[in-house]
């Protein structure tokens, strides 16, 4: 049996380390570790509630708009603020623009290099020597890769027309939106959107299908547990009861959509570097007490679970819950569903923009309470996103975030069940343990965003770091920081 560590896993957002055990050419075990934490929860405490949208956006520069949206709806709920229709639409349009940007970026600039040769220069060369089946189309795909750079840039230029700037748009505020829907902005947005729809329809979608045809075995690789969860996104009415992509769960590969009860969500920390007495709490009463080293702990990510079940989130979950995608749960199904979703959202945006009331308000004044508790559920391009807020004495007293990649890249939970990515890796064939491209293909299909996943830590003064490093066939555990500081907590060292 060989054990492989990949650190850094490149072509994703943030810092991820993956370890897999391979036996007889297949992955038999896997561990996903987030290797960066920053402490957003701590930073938000004692700041004015209105800061939430600006600060939480910097959890991630690829999906900041989702955090801006989540913070805005959480604050609206805390303040009892009813936003004008125009604001609802504009918020959706900027979020949609970023979905388009993110999905295009993901397929071309993060994922496709797992299958083809990129342009003949750094950083696309050198690359691993795996079997490249699309050598005939490589020239075309590389051309599309380059065109996609322009398209994702255009998606951001489009989004900035209302968002103010991208990334990190300042336009999302409690009570509505800052930017007005001027006619020239509307017409430029529509013109850009038409070009993006054409690109998705004529290049992106066909390219994903070409890839899926060339690598058909990947329709049966990377399934995982088979549970899908979506909070839903793009509110179509003021109450949020109607959404472009609805809320629901599909468990155990079932076709029956079940409801989502936010109280059923807990975060387990048995294999995470947090105190065991904070295990299995709902985020509204959640607590983050780091503890390292911890015998079984191997990740800074907690393990979000729905009634104890690890759930995959993302475009596949949303589209299947919505009945907009039919297929299996696999590497290729994720890519296909993501491309389908990009087109669906882009086309919906054409309808939304026509509903704007030119000259109508974008902001509604509201009273602001000195104390409140609220939460907001939405979706980032990568999946279900929730913010939980408590205001005391007019300031933030608690802020919790569960991001999509925390669901997907989570470690094992209290019952030892692997997280979605870990489970999806089981059974993956690995031809060359020195160049395990198949492992990257599975990971990348989830479009991981690690900055999101590992954001809410509050390391204590005496926390030590547990580092996992090893050679092939041998596992060695060492605590570097502990060694430097001369403390040992039962960690054996060779």
């Amino acid at each position: 049996m060989a054990t492989i560590t990949i650190d850094p896993v490149t072509r994703l957002e943030g810092h991820l380390k993956i370890k897999v055990s391979v036996e007889n050419g297949k992955v038999v075990n896997a561990w996903a570790t987030g290797t960066l934490f920053r402490g957003f929860e701590t930073i938000l405490v004692n700041r004015p509630p209105g800061d939430a949208q600006h600060i939480t956006q910097r959890i991630c520069g690829v999906c900041p708009v989702s955090h801006g949206m989540a913070a805005a709806i959480t604050l609206d709920s805390a303040f009892g603020a009813a936003i004008p229709e125009n604001a609802r639409i504009l918020r959706n349009l900027v979020l949609g623009a970023n979905y388009i940007q993110s999905h295009i970026l993901h397929f071309y600039h993060l994922a496709v290099l797992d299958f083809i040769d990129g342009p003949p220069m750094a950083p696309w060369q050198p690359s691993w020597n795996f079997e490249k089946r699309l050598t005939d189309q490589t020239g075309t795909l590389v051309e599309h890769y380059l065109k996609a750079l322009e398209m994702r840039r255009k998606a951001h230029e489009m989004g900035a027309l209302f968002g103010g700037r991208l990334p990190h748009p300042p336009a999302y505020i409690p009570g509505g939106f800052t930017t007005t829907p001027r006619p020239e902005r509307i017409s430029k947005f529509k013109s850009d959107l038409s070009q993006l729809i054409a690109f998705i329809r004529d290049f992106y979608l066909p390219d994903v299908k070409t890839l899926a045809s060339a690598y058909p075995e990947y329709r049966s690789i990377g399934k995982g547990h088979g549970h899908l969860l979506a909070y839903g996104v793009f509110d179509l009415n003021s109450s949020g009861t109607l959404k472009e992509l609805g809320r629901g769960r599909l468990m155990n590969g079932s076709n029956t959509v079940e409801s989502v009860d936010v109280n059923a969500i807990t975060e387990q920390v048995s294999y995470s570097w947090y105190a065991d007495n904070t295990n299995n709490l709902n985020p509204s009463s959640g607590s983050t007490v780091p503890k390292y080293p911890k015998g079984k702990g191997y990740s800074w990510l907690k393990a979000p679970r729905y009634q104890g079940a690890p759930c995959e989130v993302g475009p596949l979950a949303r589209m299947m819950v919505n009945g907009s995608y039919t297929g299996a749960i696999s590497v290729m199904d994720r890519h296909l569903a993501r491309a389908d979703e990009a087109l669906k959202i882009a086309q919906a945006m054409l309808h939304w923009i026509d509903q704007i009331n030119a000259g109508g308000a974008v902001y509604a004044r509201h009273t602001v309470p000195t104390s409140a508790t609220s939460f907001g559920l939405t979706e980032a391009p990568r999946g279900a996103l929730g913010h939980w807020l408590k205001i005391s004495n007019g300031k933030i007293s608690r802020y919790q975030v569960i991001t999509p990649t925390c669901w997907n890249a989570s470690p094992r939970d209290s019952s030892g069940k692997r997280g979605p990515i870990e489970e999806a890796l089981i059974g993956t064939p690995v031809q060359n343990i020195d160049e395990p491209i198949e492992v990257l293909r599975v990971i990348h299909s989830f479009d991981p965003c690690l900055s999101c996943a590992v954001h809410v830590m509050r390391p204590g003064e005496d926390a030590k770091i547990f580092a996992l490093g090893h050679d092939h066939g041998e596992e060695r555990e060492h605590s570097r920081a502990a060694r430097e500081e001369g403390h040992f907590h039962g960690v054996s060292e060779t």
């Binding site: 990949i6 520069g61 303040f79 600039h109 300042p170 509201h366 490093g469």
Partner: protein, 299 residues
């Protein structure tokens, strides 16, 4: 890429003057453009959100370069970038080690450098079974780099992860290495600012820095100084066009940046033009103790 001097000069036109390229610069460019391997750049990400990389991608174009800046940035040899590169794991790190040992390289750093727990809140990579902290990687590479570019407010001074109470003891690159860095501030950094700095470094031009390490050429005047709304009536509530946003907490008067001149996202818009008060993201103290008013509203 291969571009002849004549083609390049044609592309330059006005932009060479605008970029402050002298006759000597243009001669140097000839050698540079003739070389198959452009200057090597190593781009690291630490306590970051990737926003600065996403922002930089917002100026990359597939079509023929429109400006001298694009020609030059197209010519760099970006051998390490975690979001873009083909290789993963130790093989990726080997490329970085090869380049940083054998050639002159420019170090670009995105994200702050945490030093809590000996730097273990951010690992750069695992190499030969050992986890290497970002702190160690930055110090090691900074010592050998021909120049250091801090991309964004986080790499410059810590940024949002470094905000009170700075849970992971994040600092800017200069503070942890003692080396002079060129601080392209911004949250995110504007891609034109980054491109400008890369061009100057490629040409070997010295860049005049202010007391915070920011290029004076980019950060000499306040946002308010050149804001088209400065003479206008002040807004008392959100969502109204053309009004000055000072009453709503705009930090434009205290923030050095040229946002009003070039705008963002290819001139699509910028914060104040979108009726959003400036939050001062190019400032060493960003994000301050608060960015919005106590109640987060205009009351």
């Amino acid at each position: 890429m291969n571009v002849t001097r004549r083609e390049f000069l044609k592309l330059c036109g006005v932009s060479a003057v605008a970029m402050g390229l002298s006759a000597t610069d243009l001669v140097r460019l000839e050698d540079l453009l003739a070389s198959p391997n452009g200057p090597t750049v190593i781009w690291l990400q630490g306590s970051a959100c990737t926003g600065c990389s996403v922002s930089f991608l917002n100026r990359i174009s597939a079509s023929a370069p429109q400006t001298a800046a694009e020609v030059l940035t197209d010519s760099i040899n970006l051998i390490y970038h975690p979001n873009l590169m083909a290789l993963a794991g130790q093989d990726a790190v080997e490329e970085l080690k090869k380049a940083s040992t054998n050639t002159k390289f420019l170090l670009a750093v995105e994200g702050g450098v945490p030093s809590k727990f000996s730097g273990s809140t951010c690992w750069a990579w695992n190499y030969n079974g050992t986890d290497v902290t970002f702190l160690r990687a930055v110090r090691d590479l900074a010592a050998r780099a021909a120049g250091i570019l801090c991309i964004g407010t986080c790499a410059s001074w810590g940024g949002i992860p470094g905000a009170y109470p700075n849970p992971t003891a994040v600092k800017g690159v200069k503070a942890v290495t003692g080396k002079t860095t060129i601080n392209i501030a911004g949250c995110p950094a504007h891609p034109d600012w980054v491109a400008w700095a890369v061009v100057q470094l490629i040409l070997g031009n010295s860049i005049s820095l202010d007391s915070y390490g920011r290029p004076r050429a980019l950060f000499d005047r306040t946002v308010h100084d050149r804001c088209p709304r400065r003479e206008n009536e002040e807004a008392e509530t959100f969502g109204i066009d053309h009004l000055c946003l000072e009453e709503l907490g705009c930090r434009g008067p205290d923030t050095k940046a040229n946002c009003p001149v070039g705008g963002w996202n290819g001139g699509s818009n910028w914060c104040c033009e979108a009726n959003a008060p400036c939050i001062g993201c190019t400032d060493p103290k960003f994000p301050f103790a608060q960015l919005t008013s106590q109640e987060g509203s205009d009351d």
